[in-house]
């Protein structure tokens, strides 16, 4: 199984605070990997190290075997890693279709010089891009909304637009930061299925930061748990659900024993 992303002993330090502490992560091609953990555990910081926003003080980030830590974020995007953000960061005053079109930037064959002169090659490519962007909007379920300004779209649509923009990069690795935050159960369900569909249709490897356990347990191939910047557990959903350290990380010390006690009582009553 080919490894798309590997993080080796990645550490990120801010002044005196160690936000990410020697985290290892291996993500196989075509899988959906989730990163979970209580708030402040360092999940988004890890994402930022992977996507190039931060440069880790220690450790390496390898993408398809190549070291990419410290690379400029536009180069990272060009290599095939795209992401979405915890609090949606769209280009608010641009239309939805234009937001998506920006994502095609790394693969433009006819760049700024030809754009300035408006050569026929360039014009053809632009038409193609508009078409592709419309297709992407259709794919994420926003058909017909392309000419609306991004800030006018409803919340759920904005989240999907962000994904469309990320897909425009034609990534092989997609990083989704809390894609279901703020959604009601139906929307969450739809998003969960959509994430799985992206992987199935397009073969994209996905790393997910999520708080909603229904989503995590349902679609993840592997789950890594962070707490206080360190990885405290890793495994498939069943293993993680039973892991006492994970329970304690979320619910506090002593919770594991308590939850085991309730589990036994339930079995006893059943």
């Amino acid at each position: 199984m080919k490894t798309v992303l590997e993080a080796r002993q990645v550490s990120k330090i801010f002044g005196g605070l160690v936000a990410v502490n020697k985290v290892d992560l291996v993500v196989p091609e075509g899988s959906i990997a989730s990163i979970i953990g209580p708030n402040g555990a360092g999940k988004t910081t890890l994402f930022n190290c992977i996507s190039g926003f931060y440069t880790p003080e220690l450790g390496d980030v390898l993408f398809n075997g190549r070291k990419i830590q410290g690379m400029l974020t536009d180069k990272v995007a060009a290599m095939g890693i795209a992401r979405t953000y915890q609090n949606i960061r769209l280009f608010k005053n641009m239309s939805a279709v234009e937001n998506v079109m920006v994502g095609f930037e790394p693969r433009l064959k006819h760049g700024w010089m030809k754009a300035m002169l408006k050569t026929p090659d360039y014009q053809k490519e632009q038409k193609h891009i508009i078409n592709e962007a419309s297709r992407l909007l259709h794919y994420v379920g926003l058909a017909g909304l392309g000419d609306n300004l991004a800030l006018n779209l409803p919340y759920g649509a904005q989240r999907r637009l962000e994904i469309a923009r990320a897909l425009a990069n034609q990534p092989t690795l997609l990083l989704l930061d809390e894609p279901t935050a703020g959604m009601n159960p139906q929307e969450t369900d739809a998003m969960k299925d959509f994430i799985r569909q992206i992987r199935d249709d397009l073969g994209i490897t996905i790393i997910l930061i999520e708080h909603d356990m229904r989503v995590v347990m349902n679609i993840s191939d592997q789950i890594s748990v962070l707490d206080y910047g360190q990885k405290i557990a890793e495994g498939n959903p069943k293993e993680i659900q039973a892991n006492p350290r994970v329970i304690e990380a979320y619910l506090g010390p002593g919770a594991a024993a308590l939850s085991e006690k309730y589990r036994r009582e339930k079995l006893h009553d059943a």
Partner: protein
Amino acid sequence: MEATRKKKPLTLPQNSIRIIRIIAALLLLALIIVRAMDVAAKSQFGADTWLRLSVSGLIIGGMYALIAIGYTLVYGILFMINFAHGEVMMIGTFGGYFVFEAFNAIQVSGVDGSQLSFLNAYPVIAILLAFLAGMLIAALSGLFLEKFAYRPLRGAPRLVPLISAIGASIFLQNAGQLLFGPQRRQYINPVVLDRGIGWNLEVAGSTVVLTYTGIFSLILSAILMVGLYLLVQRTKLGRAMRAVAQDKKTAALMGINVDQIISRTFVISGALAGAAGVMWGIHNGLFNYYVGFLPGIKAFTAAVLGGIGNIPGAMLGGMVLGIVESVGPAVLGIDFQLKDVLAFTILILVLIFRPSGILGEALTEEKV
């Protein structure tokens, strides 16, 4: 998968940029040292000149420091540059001027029956009131500035309050010109604090004058700086200011009235600038509506030099800039006309090579 086709690189990879920066910085340093050695070898300037320049640098550095603190306070709390801060200083200068003028006009009989102006009869009161007036009216200007030009724009994209600040600066400068006319005015100091006289030192064969006005300004600057530092570190208001600067939302949740703290910050920064303005008038004499422009930019340079958002940094930056500005042209052997160019150049160099300043922490990378 090859996602990019090879493009003509218009950018250099990050490591090369870092290397270029280091080389450029070293080259610059080498240039400066060579020049300085050259000048020293020629020894055009005697020890008396150096002393004179250093002292005048310290004095003006104190004023820059006071104004710089104002910039840094506002930046720490609102993350914006108060472009109109130089004009607040100008308002302070005018305030002090009018007090002196008024007191000069009132005649009082002196102890020996002669006619004296109030200014000279009770100089201490006059000076005190002049500073109070200057500081008060500058503080009020800061308050209204925040209330009308900045507060409505809280939360707008960064460019917007910046432009408003520029507009406010232009407005205030021109209001000054229209109200008081373009002509330069002269501060009438009480005789006790007359310009140009002071303690005479004999150095290297000529006289260096440590002017009374200069010493006075320096001491007062120091007192105000210490006072401010104590206020920020020891008082409840200072704690609240620091809290709001760190995290507005949490401070609000803790019961701090964020709007009020912001207003008070502007009041304090205005008062300091006003004091600097009155000092400027007392020490330098001539001024008009334009007097705040250059000191404003230079004080901003000082704040950045010391580390924007860092109060001791602003103080340090102010003093350093004052001295460098005074002594620098002599060291580098260039024309004193280019004093301002030197200050601007320092600004540009600091922002390129060390934007966090001398005392600042490296600016945290943007949180995503």
